[in-house]
């Protein structure tokens, strides 16, 4: 499928006349043969405790396709994958109709109407897919406070990962002034390396992870040694360097895609664990362990920055590079150490994230915005700011998916009803961006940043 998608994406190079193919979007793959409408019916199960949505196929749902004149053109019944392929005579306007009576008991259509329009222009390839989602008619209810506790725990887990990834980003900014847009790829690199060692070389994750973390550190120092160190010496402007990080991010993302393809992958170990209950919270032993390790690592980093000579020197360079170098601190050495540390922490975060959500080429880039929100909140350039900001953002993102039911507005239009119903999962990062913008408006130096850092 990926192969076909790739063809669709790049087909346009070869044939500019077919301007209808997408340059960057992922068009559904064209199956050879006749023109057809594919209908997929899935049941969305929202786990009341974790708040995550799973999709299960619905078998035996009946679908009719009507032509423009209202006559029945084709019929189909969904198979074990919840999929019904209904051939149609050609590219034209059709109406797809789901027979709601054929759905299993207790399932109701939750999103959109039973009748859908398929327009002639939607046939970008030889078929069009129509998705129906159903949900449970009567939901199991869990108390709001229990849900809240669960989201808080999930948020703390995300927050720890974010904090770990952001420390490097913030320290690199502090010591060199560079905002590294390829930092997300450093996170992915850690997870990818662990995955390759784990799957391709068959090394158990307990060994693969530390190896990948070391590789992450080397990766970080390579960034500095090969690219940004020389650029600094050549006195290339920071804006140009930032654009270079963007270019590197593109290269790396495609290298990851080239190596492992676009699918989300799982490690071989510690998969599908049952969660164990701690009061209202349900958490897998794996996640509990990674969170504990994250916490220990972060405390260690904070302690090192606060107490050790090297840590103090790092903070001095971050506060004022010129002054620090005039007091005899080797700022180049500090910068190298910061890159190593940043790379290792990012790799660790990537592996933990990969255990939780799976390994994919864009997993780090997707976290990058949340990291930015975190370090903006905490104060750009401050290591403690990054810790606190990342943690707060993580919790905030998870908790805001749970609305405040005592607040009126259940029936208000989007997005105002989010206060009551919670932010939809697909848009759950939005509150983090909102925080970022509010912080920039009100206190651009962040919670822990200092005023003079802002230009």
């Amino acid at each position: 499928m990926l192969l076909l998608a790739g063809f669709a994406v790049f087909g346009m190079f070869a044939a500019p006349a077919h301007a209808a193919s997408a340059p960057f979007g992922h068009v559904s793959p064209a199956a050879d043969g006749d023109i057809a409408i594919k209908v997929r019916v899935q049941n969305q199960v929202k786990d009341a405790t974790t708040g995550k949505t799973k999709k299960e196929p619905i078998v035996g749902a009946t679908i009719q396709v009507l032509g423009a004149d209202g006559s029945v053109v084709g019929e189909g019944v969904t198979d074990a994958k919840g999929l019904a392929t209904i051939p149609v005579p050609g590219r034209a306007d059709y109406t797809v109709k789901l027979d709601e009576a054929s759905l299993p008991d207790g399932s109701v259509l939750v999103d959109g109407a039973a009748e859908r329009q398929v327009l002639e222009s939607s046939f970008v390839t030889s078929n069009v897919t129509v998705n129906y989602f159903t949900g449970q008619a009567d939901r199991a209810t869990v108390g709001w406070w229990s849900q809240f506790a669960q989201r808080l725990a999930d948020g703390a887990r995300l927050g720890l990962i974010l904090a770990m990834c952001s420390v490097g980003l913030s320290l690199i900014f502090g010591t060199t002034g560079l905002t590294n847009f390829a930092h997300g790829e450093m996170v992915t690199f850690g997870a990818m390396t662990a995955y390759i060692l784990n799957i391709d070389f068959g090394i158990h994750l307990l060994l693969a992870a530390p190896l990948a973390i070391v590789a992450g550190g080397l990766f970080g120092v390579a960034f500095d040694g090969i690219v940004f160190g020389p650029l600094r010496r050549r006195k290339i402007g920071l804006v140009s360097q930032m654009v270079v990080t963007v270019g590197l991010a593109i290269v790396l993302k495609n290298a990851f895609l080239w190596k492992l393809g676009g699918r989300v992958k799982q490690f071989a170990d510690f998969n599908s664990q049952e969660c164990s209950r701690f009061g209202p919270i349900c958490i897998t032993p794996r996640d509990l362990t990674t969170s504990a390790i994250s916490l220990v690592l972060l405390v260690a980093v904070a302690f090192a920055l606060q107490r050790t000579r090297l840590g103090k020197a790092t903070r001095a360079v971050s506060d004022n590079p010129d002054l620090a170098s005039s007091t005899g601190i080797d700022s180049q050495k500090i910068i190298r150490i910061v890159w190593i540390l940043g790379g290792m922490l990012a790799a660790t975060g990537g592996i933990f994230r990969g255990l939780d959500e799976g390994v994919s080429p864009t997993m780090g880039a997707d976290l990058l915005f949340l990291m930015f929100a975190g370090i903006t909140l905490g104060g750009l350039g401050s290591a403690f700011g990054a810790l606190v900001g990342g943690f707060v953002i993580g919790i905030f993102v998870e908790v805001t998916t749970l609305g405040i039911p005592i607040f009126p507005g259940k029936d208000w239009p989007d997005p105002f009803n989010w206060i009551h119903n919670g932010v939809p999962t697909e848009l759950k990062n939005m509150p983090a961006y909102l925080i970022m913008i509010v912080v920039l408006l009100v206190r651009p130096q962040g919670i822990l940043g200092r005023r003079e850092r802002v230009g």
Binding site: P16, A19, A20, F24, V243, W258, M436
Partner: protein, 404 residues
């Protein structure tokens, strides 16, 4: 191995490359790059959210029939309104701060916009991940080309009507003027008669374009968008050129060099940056409009952050802070890209569905070709920024300054 290379369909590769030169992608990238040039090239603003501005245009025209149920032409003022609002949201919190904040916020907000328009929550308004279809009928009916026919880019081709001939000649003349300027600036030596050199370069360029155009043909549908789009690009290019020749443009360039110095001379830097951000954004909305008109549909994933970065690469390739750079850059960009892609894909087929060097197979499925080509874009951006920040046709004197 060598024989394999010789067997490649070179005619097809050439045709694909040349078609990409004038094609829809080069066109809509050029318009976006003209806008980005105002922000990044002239004012030095690191706008990483150009895709968001493009989406503003695309969704504005898409929503006219889909949601507002009004005439298609209202799409243009709505697009401009969207772009202004989007620019204000981006600019107000960031433009007083360091350049990094603008980059972070623009990239994040463009992504927010994309997530919003593709969300199930707002599906009624924006059509979710399927996007919006069927709004381009007005555009199709008013442009004087037949959808079913194929058109040659060559102005005197029998299939083109007289309208097309005149429009194409006009476009080629403008293009030749640009090319002449670039070539002169890059290659003329001290003491040469610049007017003469430029005249010769322009005439040669015109001839060259004419020769190329005989190779290139498009389907009627795309041909409309291509002709209209390039005319629009030329107008917008002229607009930016005039602005940058004016004292307004001088202030912008000053801000790029050192905003504190400009502030000390009594200019409201914040206001100028905002103007540049919004103006560039408004120009970019036309890119989104033209792209969606060509495709007859709007899809959220065509406005991902990668699009911004590709536009940026195309701009840097042609040379930032030059109008000609923002137009020639995207043409070169798509020329190079389609060449690489078609070449590698042909090689892939020719060598038995794999490409390898010394036994190491680095392409073993065809989607990897796409990834290599896209990775190449990133590499191109890095190399350009490090070794040729002035672009391929950079001014010699300016290049010397960068070495300092």
């Amino acid at each position: 191995m060598i024989a394999g290379i010789l067997d490649l369909p070179f005619n097809d590769i050439l045709r694909a490359t040349l078609s990409a030169f004038f094609g829809v992608n080069a066109m809509y990238f050029a318009i976006a790059a003209i806008g980005l040039n105002v922000q990044f090239g002239y004012a030095g603003l690191l706008n990483f959210g150009q895709a968001g501005f493009m989406a503003c245009g695309a969704y504005a025209v898409g929503m006219t029939t889909h949601y507002f149920h009004i005439s298609f032409w209202w799409g243009i003022p709505i697009a401009i309104t969207y772009a202004v609002v989007f620019g204000l949201i981006m600019g107000i919190p960031t433009l007083r701060l360091r350049a990094d904040y603008l980059a972070i916020v623009t990239i994040a907000l463009a992504e927010v916009l994309r997530l919003l328009v593709r969300s199930v929550t707002f599906k009624k308004k924006f059509g979710g991940s399927d996007g919006i279809n069927g709004f381009a009928e007005t555009f199709r009916s008013v442009t004087p080309f037949d959808d079913a026919k194929r058109y040659k880019m060559y102005p005197f081709d029998a299939s083109n009507g007289s309208v097309a001939t005149v429009l194409l000649l006009l476009l080629f003349a403008v293009g030749a003027l640009f090319a002449g300027r670039i070539l002169t600036r890059r290659f003329s030596k001290e003491g040469q008669n610049r007017t003469l050199v430029q005249g010769v370069a322009t005439v040669l360029s015109f001839g060259f374009i004419l020769v190329i155009s005989t190779y290139v043909e498009y389907a009627g549908l795309s041909f409309k968008a291509i002709v209209v789009g390039w005319i629009l690009a030329a107008i917008l290019g002229l607009f930016v050129y005039m602005l940058m020749k004016s004292p307004w443009g001088r202030v912008l360039k000053g801000i790029r060099e050192d905003e504190e110095a400009v502030r000390s001379l009594g200019k409201s830097v914040y206001s100028y940056k905002m103007q540049a951000l919004i103006l560039g954004g408004v120009i970019a909305t036309f890119s989104g409009i033209m792209f969606s008109l060509d495709r007859g549909s709007v899809q959220p994933d065509n406005y991902s952050r990668d699009v911004t970065f590709y536009v940026l690469t195309a701009l840097v390739l042609g040379g930032a802070a030059k109008v000609s750079g923002s137009i020639v850059g995207p043409m070169l960009f798509w020329g190079i890209l389609s060449f690489a892609d078609v070449f590698l894909n042909s090689l892939f087929k020719e060598w038995g569905n794999q490409i390898g060097i010394f036994g190491w197979k680095f392409v073993s499925n065809s989607s990897q070709v796409g990834m290599i080509v896209q990775g190449m874009i990133g590499l191109m951006l890095v190399l350009l920024m490090v070794f040729r920040p002035q672009g391929l046709f950079g001014n010699r004197k300016e290049m010397a300054l960068d070495g300092r």
